[in-house]
Symmetry: C2
Subunit: 266 residues, 2 copies
Amino acid sequence: MKIARMRTGRRVSHGVVEGDEVIELRGSIFTKFRLTDIRYPLSEVKLLPPTDPREIWCPGLNFLDHLEFAGSVLGQETPDVPKHPQPWRKGRNAMTGHLDPIILPKDAEGEVHYEGEAVAVIGKPCRRVSPEKAGRYILGYTCGNDVSERAWQGSDWTFWRAKGSDTFAPVGPWIETEIDPQELDLNVRINGEQVQSCNTADMLFSFAEVVSYISQHATLRPGDLVFSGATGVTTAIRPGDTVEVDIPGIGTLCNPVQAEFDSSAA
Amino acid sequence: MKIARMRTGRRVSHGVVEGDEVIELRGSIFTKFRLTDIRYPLSEVKLLPPTDPREIWCPGLNFLDHLEFAGSVLGQETPDVPKHPQPWRKGRNAMTGHLDPIILPKDAEGEVHYEGEAVAVIGKPCRRVSPEKAGRYILGYTCGNDVSERAWQGSDWTFWRAKGSDTFAPVGPWIETEIDPQELDLNVRINGEQVQSCNTADMLFSFAEVVSYISQHATLRPGDLVFSGATGVTTAIRPGDTVEVDIPGIGTLCNPVQAEFDSSAA
C-alpha cells in the first residue's frame, strides 16, 4: 500500500495511492484509518513530505563505498569501517516535498551534492527495541535526498547547514508499506542521466539495526524518519537541473534545482 | 509577562502566570491571544516545556571560560576562541518539563553533567535577519539544562545521545517576555548548593547574533528554542539529586535526577 500526505485546497490529509488516483482516508495512518469515497487525480493534489516527523535521523557512514569519499570531504583520512551507527539529526526546517525546489544558498562556499537514500518511516513509539523486533515499529519506506554542501561539511563543526539548510531534505513521494527494505534498488538521475546506483543490501547496518541502535537512548515516534545513509561518490547539482531519486517498488522523488534569489543584487 | 504551557486534566493550554496563579489564555501566544476567566493555582497544573519546538538549537562554545573544559571533554586541545557560532541541534525527544525527572541511562559510560543555560524562544518565523533586527523575532526567555553524558560526548561522532538522550533537555518553567537577555544572572544549584554561576553578558555571541547566524541558512519558526551555551566547569549529577537552574527575573527550572530502571536486572 502506498500512503501519501497531500494538500487539497487548504486541507492537509493522508490518502492511499492507487494508479494515478489518491483516495482520501480518515483516521491516523499510525493506528487505524478507513478509506473515504473521495478520490483525486494524483496530478491535482500537492504531495507533501509523507509525515511531519519529530526527528529526522541519519546513520552516519553506512555504505563501504562512501568511506573514502566522505573522508576526502571532511579533509581526513579514509575512516575505518564503523563498528556501530553514528547517528546524527537532519533539520526539520530542511524538509521539502516531491516536486518542490532544492534551493542552492546564494552564499554556498562549495558544491551542493545530491545523496539519494531510502528512508524508513517509524510507525509506533519505540524505545530500547532489539534489531530483531525493530522492523515491527517501521510503517514503511520512502525516498529521500540528503542534500549536502560539501565545503560547509568539511569546515563546520557540525552538519547544521551543510546538510540542514532550508530545502536540503526532500522526502517523498509517498510511503510504501509492503516492501523488503534491504533489497531496494536505488537510482539517482540528474536531467534523466543516471549518476548513482546502489542497493540497500549493501547497507553496513540495516534499517532495523539503525532503529534499534538509536532507540537505546532516544525514543522514536510515529512519523520519525530514518535515512539509509549515502553510497559511493556524488556530484554537484546546478540551477535548472532536475534530480530524481528512484526506488523501484516505491516511486520517484523528483525535485528541480534553483538558485536562491539574491536580494542583495537587486 | 510570564507565559506557561500546562496540562490540566487532558487539556493542554497556555496561560499567564501571576503570583501563584496561572490565567488560561485563548488564541496563539505567537500572534494574538486574550485572557480568560479561568484561573488555576500554579500548584495544581502540570507545567510543560513552554513550547513544542520544531528545532532546538545550541550555539556551540559560547563562553570563554568553557573552552578549556570542553577541549578536555572532547579529548582535544583547548579550542581557539570561535569566530562565529557553531550551531548544533539538540533532540526534541530529549525535552522534558519543570519537575520532571532527568533519567540517567543505565548504560551511561561516563558522568552525566548539568549545564544550566538561558534559552531564547522564537516568536515569529525568521530567515536571513540581521543581528540588529533578530531581537524582534524572539518572544522571550526561559531556563534550560543541556544535560550531557561526558564519555559519549568525547567518543561519539556527534552529540546525538551525549546531549540528546531522552530527558536530557529540561526546559521551563515558563517564558518571560520582558527582560534584557544579555544581563541575566544564572545560577545552578544541586540539592540547594550553588555549583555554577554566570551572567549572559559574557556570552561570546548574543542571542540576537546566534539567531541571526542560524537564520542565514535555516528558517526559525515560532516556538523554536535557542540555548545560550554553557559556562565554566560542570560536575556530575547523581540519582536522588535535585538540579535547579535559576535565572532571577525569569524563574527556576527544577528537576529531580533518577537512575533508569534496569529491566535486565529484574
